[in-house]
């Protein structure tokens, strides 16, 4: 097991290395080159020449790359062009908000998705099943930000059930330890703050959860359908097992294995979905910040974000693989 983990971690190195090369080349392929990217709209020929000399962009490529890699390894992702602050600092400030939102979205997607997929599969071919299939397809085809619009318009603007923007109401003065507001509220016993944070999270988390929810529901459905028509389920029934045991120990345990992998794959999707959702709800996370960076061509931010996401994505999938190895005896004992 430990060997597996170490091997997977070792495989991460070339991936990140390759990614850094790609990003390095990407900045250099931008129209106007890295200097223009850094200067943004203030790129006069003189300023460009100055920057090129200052940052060594006139040096040979491999030399530049070594320097760039050195900076990355020190956690130096450059400076944001819009806020003029280090990219790393901007990230660490905003990251907890996005993590909180993403966790909620995953929870919703997993719980509702598995339940929906399971119910549909057990009534395979019925009206409920067909409705669930169409619903899950609709879930994939409604653009995330459009769904966010609708949720915001109906439940926040028209009905006023939920706040339409932000993470916390102005009149709440809460103490923060982890910067995961709901958790903080529970830890400090400030229940009104926790509740306020939950209200702020409901709509963006729902919008963000839509696509992964649909994907997990479909995966669960097809997996349950396959397993429930498998020989070993039939044999489990034939040997006289009680129905709850057939359902829980045989059917569900086997059917949910492939679903676990799917959940890991959703993380990348969630992080890019956060870019759109956070923007609609003016949610102060990393995604909204990135959306601004994209429209204002803030390349150091974009570059850092892609590296960060790739790292998170790789780590989450590693965790999923490892837990998969623990649940599935075929991988554990060989």
């Amino acid at each position: 097991m430990l060997r597996l983990i170490l091997r997977r971690l070792a495989l991460l190195v070339p991936t990140l290395f390759g990614l850094s090369v790609l990003l390095f080349l990407w900045v250099r392929a931008l129209p106007g080159g890295p200097a223009a990217a850094l200067l943004g709209e203030r790129a006069t020929p003189e300023a460009v020449a100055e920057i090129n000399r200052l940052y060594g962009f006139d040096r040979p490529l491999h030399e530049q790359y070594v320097r760039y890699l050195g900076q990355l390894l020190q956690g130096n992702f450059g400076t944001s062009l819009t806020t003029r602050r280090p990219v790393m600092e901007e990230f660490t400030n905003r990251f907890p908000a996005t993590v909180e939102l993403t966790i909620w979205a995953i929870l919703i997607a997993v719980v509702v998705g598995i339940a929906l997929g399971y119910v549909a599969a057990r009534r395979h071919g019925s009206l409920v099943d067909n409705a669930a299939v169409v619903a899950s397809l609709v879930g994939v085809t409604v653009p995330v930000f459009f769904l966010a619009f609708i949720l915001k318009f109906v439940f926040a603007v028209r009905l006023g059930w939920f706040p339409s923007t932000g993470r916390q109401s102005n009149d709440i003065d809460a103490t923060h330890y982890t910067n995961l507001y709901v958790l903080d509220g529970i830890l400090t016993g400030e229940w009104d703050a926790a509740w306020d944070a939950v209200l702020h999270l409901v709509l963006p988390a729902l919008a963000l959860a839509s696509i992964p929810l649909a994907i997990i529901a479909r995966m669960t459905r097809s997996s349950v359908i396959e397993v429930q028509s498998s020989d070993y389920v039939r044999t489990a029934v034939a040997k006289g097992l009680r129905p709850p045991r057939v359902r829980n120990r045989v059917l569900l345990r086997n059917a949910l294995l492939p679903v676990a992998t799917t959940i890991g794959l959703q993380v990348g999707l969630l992080l890019s979905g956060a870019v759109l959702t956070e923007t609609v709800f003016s949610y102060p996370g990393i995604g909204g910040f990135l959306a601004t960076a994209i429209s204002s061509a803030d390349y150091p931010v974009l570059q850092g974000f892609i590296l960060l996401i790739a790292l998170v994505y790789a780590l989450v999938n590693l965790a999923v693989d490892i837990s998969y190895g623990i649940i599935d005896p075929r991988l554990r004992t060989r």
């Binding site: 990614l19 931008l30 067909n130 169409v134 397809l137 994939v140 085809t141 653009p143 603007v157």
Partner: protein
């Protein structure tokens, strides 16, 4: 809920009609000489999901092609320019069936012309992704060895970046124009198609008919091109149908993020939706209508793709 999960399909032995035991001949039927693809289409004709998808797609394509005749006003025209007030955008009327937008354009015309833009973006970017992906996948799948390893490592690298961000990065290089969006969406699909085709080719390669073809003395290239590739294309074509949906959605997302340039009055669903955000409280229909168009079009392609996938499923094939 029933206690026993009964197998969904009859076990092979029970699958009617019974195999003609012993006689080894089967009376000829009407279905003689139907290729796999034709059989798949025959199966799709009986599926309500496939029909719904086909109807949506057909309607979309017709509207896009016939836009100049269907749209009441030319693209980018602003016939109701003078009726717009800062706090009021006129709703549906006899003259403008779906109302006006904040520039005074007729929303119905904009939506019709937008279908055309979406069709172009969808088709061109899908073709780009398909062509690139098939080329890359073929390179990996046909040569194997270190070429395969190198190509697939690169593909995995690309897939480690969420597609929206990859598209954003590519669009940033390609510049602020409409073509850059098409390129971005298309290029993002290349690694996906490549991986799919390669996997499919590896699976086909293990089949006995490939061994048989090699035993006939066909060269590696001929075996690949006339047996392995055609049999591997099923999942790729399914994916292409699904990508048509993704392309429409991603194009909207990119223009929502402010990429792609173009004039704000240009008839493109994503841009219409983005622009409507400011007027959400006074004219929600401006967001609702293009959003619905995007969703329904994407749904049409997805329904079609999913039912095609089901119809081509090898598990269904063997059952005849």
């Amino acid at each position: 809920m029933t206690a026993t999960p009964p197998p969904a399909e009859p076990v092979v032995d029970a699958a009617p009609p019974p195999e003609p035991g012993g006689s080894d001949t089967r009376p000829g039927s009407k279905r003689d000489g139907q290729s796999l693809w034709r059989q798949a289409f025959r199966r799709m004709r009986t599926s309500p999901i496939a029909i719904l998808g086909a109807v949506i797609v057909l309607a979309f394509v017709l509207v896009a092609l016939l836009a100049p005749w269907l749209a009441p006003y030319p693209a980018q025209a602003t016939p109701g320019r003078d009726l717009i007030r800062p706090t009021m955008i006129p709703g549906p009327s006899a003259e403008f069936p779906l109302g006006l937008d904040r520039f005074g354009s007729d929303v119905l015309s904009q939506l019709i012309w937008g279908a055309r833009a979406s069709l172009v973006i969808g088709v061109v970017s899908t073709l780009l992704g398909l062509a690139g992906g098939v080329a890359v996948g073929l390179l990996a799948g046909a040569f194997g060895g270190w070429v395969d390893t190198a190509v697939m490592r690169f593909v995995d690298l690309m897939l480690a970046i969420p597609s929206l961000l990859l598209a954003v990065s590519i669009a940033a290089i390609a510049g602020q124009n409409n073509t850059s969006i098409i390129i971005a969406i298309g290029v993002v699909q290349i690694p996906i198609f490549a991986r799919l085709l390669r996997g499919s080719m590896l699976a086909q390669r293990k089949e006995d008919y490939v061994l048989a073809a090699r035993s006939l003395g066909l060269t590696r290239g001929t075996v690949t091109m006339s047996h392995v590739l055609p049999n591997s294309l099923g999942p790729v074509i399914v994916q292409a149908t699904l990508v048509l949906a993704t392309a429409v959605i991603e194009a909207a997302a990119l223009s929502f993020l402010g990429l792609g340039g173009g004039r704000p009055t240009e008839a493109e669903w994503g841009r219409m939706l983005t622009g409507a955000q400011a007027e959400l409280s006074i004219a929600p229909r401006l967001a609702l209508l293009p959003g619905l168009c995007i969703s329904i079009t994407a749904l049409g392609f997805t329904l079609l793709g999913e039912s095609l996938r089901e119809a081509l499923d090898p598990r269904m094939r063997r059952r005849r």
